[in-house]
């Protein structure tokens, strides 16, 4: 049980507003961790801090013991932290294949000269990258869709394509921001299966989700945020019994 990702005293202040305050938790390698909390609790902000889209105001975030707090996003992806976005950010005008190849970028190396001279090494790398991208599309459940434009995919498929893009970068930690957002029940079921298979590949998952059934089914461990602070942490069964959590969040959520 070693911590893959460690947050310690993480605080983010926008202007005068404290969005995340003194949050600390560990994401254990091989587990699926859920980050939940009411709207505005600072979940997505925490994600943006982990992935380097925002800079922490105070505190440390370490991945495999290495501080991430001063690195740019692309460096963090190279270290093995890939993400999806709450409001899907695919390259809408490009094919599914090209989208996944974007994730492949940091695991390939052909440069300008390789491109201009089209060396054998560059061509081999291209072929392997395409093959891997197709395999990832199959993996997330989009076989045969490689040449479809991202914008032509159904909403749930777009979410899956984003996961494929993230997986293509060979992450050790996959960060999913509301992966079930906008999905119907059947798609959500498939997503739970997909998360299980991602875990089976040995990839650690950290996810934000509002769909409590998904969280309870998919997660090994849950962290609850409210008003930017951590109010509880534990396995799903314990979280469901936690009084503060029920008051703050689950009480209203279960009623719906």
């Amino acid at each position: 049980m070693s911590a893959l990702l460690e947050l310690r005293g993480v605080t983010k202040i926008f202007g005068g507003l404290v969005a995340v305050e003194d949050v600390g938790f560990d994401v254990v390698a091989g587990q699926v961790m859920g980050l939940i909390g009411p709207n505005g609790a600072g979940k997505t902000t925490t994600f943006n801090l982990i992935t380097g889209n925002y800079r922490v105001s105070r505190g440390t975030i370490a991945f495999e013991g290495r501080p991430l707090t001063s690195l740019r996003t692309n460096r963090i992806v190279r270290l093995g932290v890939a993400r999806t976005f709450q409001n899907i950010r695919l390259f809408q005008q490009l094919t599914a294949l090209e989208n996944v190849l974007a994730g492949r970028h940091c695991r390939t190396s052909a440069g300008l000269l390789g491109a201009l001279l089209r060396t054998p090494g560059q061509r081999r790398e291209e072929r392997a990258a395409v093959a891997r991208a197709i395999a990832e599309l199959d993996f997330v459940g989009l076989p045969g869709r490689a040449l479809d434009l991202a914008k032509n995919l159904a909403y749930g498929d777009q979410r899956r394509l984003e996961i494929a893009r993230a997986l293509a970068s060979e992450p050790k930690l996959l960060v999913l921001d509301e992966p079930a957002g906008g999905m119907n029940e059947q798609e959500t079921d498939q997503l739970v299966g997909l998360i299980g298979r991602i875990k089976a590949r040995g990839i650690t998952v950290l996810l934000i989700e509002h769909d409590m059934t998904l969280v309870m089914r998919a997660c090994d461990q849950i962290v609850v945020l409210e008003y930017g602070k951590k109010i509880a942490e534990g396995p799903p069964a314990a979280i469901q019994r936690d009084r503060r959590v029920i008051e703050a969040y689950l009480g209203t959520e279960e009623a719906t």
Partner: protein, 323 residues
């Protein structure tokens, strides 16, 4: 490469090779002009069309290249074609230095900053910076280039030199478009945040786009200097940048054949409609406004699809099975 496009290129190549037989010296010179602008438009297309960076200062890189070659030639006696790679290299280095602090700016601000950079370069040239640019008069007495011991002098000879370089450029840029590098620029243009989030070093690729675009503009500048034998700051005014920008937008931002057609139209139209020549810019301004409403993607926005059915392999090991 797409077959229709290939046929188009071949037809154009044959027409250009035969052109001197049917055209007079003036008309060939117009074609040379088209060639130089095609090169400039292709160089800007890397920055504006492929990477989506609003650069309205392409004339600055063109000027750096032209002046580098002219100075090397007139002061040190370096042959013009030898000076060409140096021109490209210096223009690229210059681009990286000036673009580094500003590449992260949002589109319209980058546009204004690059206008400013272009103007600063022009003013620097007029003021004879470092005492080597010859001030407002510029540099004259630039030697003609030699190719395999043959002196290139007539418009016909320049036609082959310029369009030969165009052919090489088009070939290389198509390769670039289909490569990992070209894809990275596309991702950057489509959504920089998503590109960075997918692991692409967006700052680096922005700078690479600037460097490569500037290098090509710089090399084109050295050919221009060789062709004119005289260069002065007024050849690199703000309007040069505007015209090249227009060629890219008009032809089809991001499309290699598109920007070539854009360049050809912008150069040739005023030659055909002589009466309209003074109203040239007026018409272009109007075209820019109308196009944005009617056809914002440009006249020929065609881009080669990067992948076709044949490129998609089947029977793959699933990632679970991968080591």
């Amino acid at each position: 490469m797409n077959r229709r496009l290939l046929v188009g290129y071949l037809v154009a190549a044959v027409a250009l090779i035969l052109a001197p037989r049917f055209l007079d010296a003036y008309q060939v010179d117009v074609l040379n002009s088209v060639g130089l602008y095609v090169l400039l438009a292709l160089s800007l297309n890397l920055i504006l069309g492929d990477a989506g960076l609003f650069n309205m200062g392409q004339a600055a890189f063109y000027a750096v290249g032209a002046y580098t070659a002219a100075i090397l030639n007139t002061r040190l006696g370096v042959p013009m074609l030898w000076a060409m790679p140096v021109s490209g290299l210096l223009a690229a280095i210059f681009a990286v230095i000036v673009a580094r602090p500003v590449v992260h700016l949002r589109g319209d601000y980058l546009l204004v900053v690059t206008i400013g950079l272009g103007e600063i370069v022009r003013i620097a040239l007029v003021n004879d910076v470092f005492g080597v640019t010859g001030g407002a008069n510029g540099i004259f007495g630039i030697a003609r280039p030699f190719l395999f011991g043959h002196k290139i002098r007539t418009p016909d000879e320049f036609l082959y030199l310029i369009w030969g370089f165009v052919a090489v450029t088009v070939f290389l840029f198509h390769r670039l478009e289909e490569s990992r590098f070209g894809r990275a620029l596309t991702f950057l243009r489509e959504d920089a945040v998503a590109a960075e989030g997918s692991g692409i070093d967006t700052t680096r690729y922005r700078l690479m786009a600037f460097a490569l675009g500037a290098a090509w503009a710089g090399m084109t500048g050295s050919i221009y200097a060789a062709k004119m034998t005289i260069i002065s700051p007024e050849s690199f005014s703000f309007w040069e940048s505007v015209v090249v920008f227009l060629m890219v937008i008009l032809g089809g931002s991001g499309s290699i054949p598109g920007v070539m057609v854009g360049a050809a139209i912008v150069v040739i139209m005023p030659e055909i409609f002589r009466d309209l020549a003074t109203a040239r810019m007026l018409v272009f301004g109007l075209v820019m406004m109308v196009m944005m409403v009617v056809r914002p993607q440009g006249l020929l926005p065609w881009r080669a699809p990067r992948f076709r059915a044949g490129d998609v392999p089947r029977d793959l090991p699933r990632p679970e099975a991968a080591p």
